[in-house]
């Protein structure tokens, strides 16, 4: 095994491990039933790693919105089947697993741009901040909508499982 491939595997392992840890933390904030923590972590690791693989430079280099949508679809499928095993609503597994992919930094940067617009009357600075606001805000919104569409498709395709798991 070459040094390069070892580095790549470490990067993939890091991405999966830390997104899983983030999912467990967000599960605890959302008071997800404890039996779901580990499975949420597995779903989050799979989704985040897939998004990472799809967007990584030198690979497919897919746009982050499309990659997030595809990754959320996979997380949705995992969540529906996991929900059936541990008897919790699909959303209880799905949402904490999606949270590591929520574009929080884009949202903060968009607001930063908005404040920049208000505090800079100079045309060049205003235009730059408006660009930051629009670019980050639109990307953030599109990622959230894309993720939600991707994640909801399995829930609606497998309605019988999704809405009867707590029976």
């Amino acid at each position: 095994m070459t040094d390069d491939s070892i580095i790549s595997w470490t990067v993939f392992f890091d991405d999966a491990l830390f997104s899983a840890m983030a999912a467990i933390g967000f599960s605890s904030i959302s008071h997800t039933p404890r039996r779901a923590y580990i499975l949420c972590a597995v779903a989050a690791a799979a989704g985040h790693l897939l998004r990472f693989l799809l967007t990584m430079p030198g690979g497919i280099e897919m746009n982050i919105i499309a990659a997030a949508t595809i990754a959320a679809f996979i997380v949705g499928i995992i969540a529906v089947f996991v929900a059936k095993v541990i008897k919790v609503p699909a959303e209880a597994c799905l949402f904490p697993a999606l949270l590591p992919m929520i574009p929080g930094l884009y949202a903060c940067r968009a607001f930063e741009g908005f404040v920049g617009c208000l505090s800079n009357l100079d045309e060049t600075l205003f235009s730059h901040n408006l660009y930051l606001f629009m670019s980050n805000g639109m990307t953030c919104g599109a990622i959230v909508i894309g993720m939600t569409i991707g994640a909801n498709i399995p829930i609606f395709l497998m309605k019988k499982i999704s809405f009867q798991v707590t029976r």
Binding site: M21, G25, H31, L105, V144, T148, T166
Partner: protein, 268 residues
């Protein structure tokens, strides 16, 4: 269960008014709690419809920003409306799970309305103390976030401490019933200021990542996903309401972050 069974079952329970009123009030409160703990409108519709159908009624739920309205109609065309103020319970998938299971127990005839009401009270009366394990798991989650955004070990350590401090304050503020927007601002300010330690003392090589990710534990992710889910299900009003709530909180925490950056830059 037929209508007659239902009327009979409700005769020996302690509800005031007639059986239909008891069911209507129960459903309105049930919906308000489901909404409050972060269930999507599709789930609220399905759960409430399932319970109403068990007793021979049809339920139409209108979810507004501050209240939930349940229209209960019978086969004869008679309609009655029940309204309940939404419960601000905070996102809680445990309650969501229990309430969904309750609707199935009623549907499968395992519970009378009286027993369902008692179980409902037990579920919503559970005390969810924001205890120590949530504090350290949240801190660990945010430190992991820092790593995902390219932060080094020093940044992760500082973000862990900054998040622990911010979340500890959040727990105290929640108990003190402080306005949520104010404490989001304060928690973001405290976390970002502590995370500035990386830049201030020259710890690690990614101080910017530490500051930016120190407030991410406050991002209202579930309301954003819920808003988009409701929009896809054509519940536009509810979707907009959840989105506006999430946007206000994001603005509050961003303001806290920006204030901290400004103050720390001036100090430096």
């Amino acid at each position: 269960m037929t209508m007659t069974d239902f009327e009979a079952a409700c005769e020996d329970v302690s509800f005031t008014g007639n059986a239909r009123d008891a069911l209507g009030r129960f459903l309105a409160e049930y919906s308000a709690w489901l909404w409050g703990c972060g269930a999507t409108c599709v789930r609220i519709d399905k759960n409430v419809g399932r319970i109403a159908m068990t007793y021979g009624y049809r339920a139409d739920v209108a979810v507004m920003p501050r209240h939930v309205t349940v229209c209960l109609s019978d086969e004869g065309g008679s309609v009655q409306t029940y309204t309940q103020r939404v419960v601000k319970a905070g996102i809680n998938f445990d309650i969501n799970t229990e309430l969904s299971a309750l609707s199935w127990s009623i549907r499968d005839g395992k519970l009378s309305l009286d027993d369902a009401e008692k179980r409902f009270r037990t579920i919503v009366g559970q005390l969810y103390v924001d205890n120590f394990h949530i504090l350290w798991l949240t801190s660990l989650a945010n430190a992991s976030f820092c790593r995902l955004f390219g932060g080094d070990a020093a940044a992760m350590g500082v973000v862990f401490i900054a998040t622990a401090a911010g979340y500890f304050l959040k727990q105290r503020f929640l108990r003190g019933k402080m306005d949520i927007r104010v404490f989001f601002f304060l928690c973001a300010f405290i976390s970002a200021t502590l995370a500035s330690g990386c830049g201030l003392f020259g710890w690690g090589t990614t101080p910017g990542v530490a500051v930016a990710t120190s407030v991410l534990y406050l991002i209202p992710g579930v309301p954003y996903i819920n808003a988009a889910s409701d929009m896809l299900a054509c519940h536009y009003l509810c979707s907009f309401s959840r989105f506006a709530d999430a946007l206000v909180l994001t603005a509050s925490l961003s303001l806290g972050l920006l204030t901290s950056i400004t103050v720390m830059n001036n100090c430096l």
